[in-house]
Symmetry: C2
Subunit: 188 residues, 2 copies
């Protein structure tokens, strides 16, 4: 049971974003830009960063939602599963391994990011902006995970729910659904 | 030395917000609303939440900046110092002690927030919105602290720097300084 009164049909972050629209607007905008805006990282790669951080924070709702989004964007389910298991042996590029490693360090705390981890990413071709965005996406999901679990929101157990939410995140991104999309909101 | 090229005269978060204005805009907007927007918590109380989280995350820049802002808003330096030392015996209301305790739990992770900690805050008069905002402010500073330290930004050692920044946060809030305020930007 959530610690504050949220709409029952809106679990996880979805109820929080409806509860306080003034704070939801900039949170949505920041997420839309970082995860769907112009970037040399694919949308799938950026969802993997969201996934590894949420997984390490043990946030069930966010992990399931962003795993689903990553799987739909990558058109397979192996990569996200193996990233969560072990970044070093996951089927992603060496540059992505270095960036996912940085994200996992940010999850522990800002001071855990070492000069060596940054140097390695740069040696493997990561740009300054890619490093910046990786750190900020990881930091943003440290916010999300704490927001979702700190207020004890509900995480549905039905995998179909997250599949629907993942589809919505692929097709509509992180912006608020416009009027007339209430059927999608209900499903998500 | 920061891990990415930031303007040397802009330490801590200030350089990051200039580096990537597309992400800075919603971050500023969210912070301005949560820390300076309409609320039944005073601006000083909200800066104390930012302070305790930054302190527990051992983020030197953010701790010094928000301690300075809290001190200026509260017109004394004892409260912030004692909150950082021990929430239970700090000279704040019982409701604020309960909210600062929740913020400190969020710092550890969303799942650390217990039903008992929420119940206690509600018994002491905290509203749902106050609890929501406390959790979200704490989560936001978990983002900031990781952003600032994860990219290894510089934290000035001169206390005068943070006093200037605290004054700016009191007088101008978290919005971007308009053109013509460059002297303030340089000082901060």
């Amino acid at each position: 049971m959530p610690y504050i009164p949220l709409e029952e049909h809106l679990p996880g972050i979805t109820g929080l974003l409806e509860y306080r629209k003034d704070t939801a607007a900039p949170i949505r905008e920041l997420t839309q830009f970082l995860l769907r805006g112009p970037s040399s990282l694919t949308e799938g790669e950026r969802e993997l960063i969201a996934t590894i951080v949420s997984h390490r924070n043990e946030c069930r709702f966010c992990t399931a939602a962003h795993t689903a989004a990553a799987d739909i964007l990558l058109e397979e389910e192996e990569t996200s599963a193996r990233v969560k298991q072990d970044i070093a042996t996951a089927p992603v590029s060496d540059k992505m391994k270095a960036l996912l490693t940085i994200a996992a360090l940010v999850q522990q705390g800002g001071k855990y990011v070492t000069p060596e981890s940054i140097e390695k990413a740069k040696d493997l071709g990561a740009t300054d902006i890619e490093i910046h965005d990786t750190v900020l996406i990881a930091a943003l999901f440290c916010l999300y995970n704490r927001y979702v679990d700190g207020l004890s929101t509900v995480a549905p157990t039905d995998p179909g729910f997250y599949k629907g939410l993942g589809e919505r995140l692929k097709n509509h991104g992180y912006n608020r659904l416009p009027q007339g999309y209430d059927h999608l909101k209900k499903k998500a």
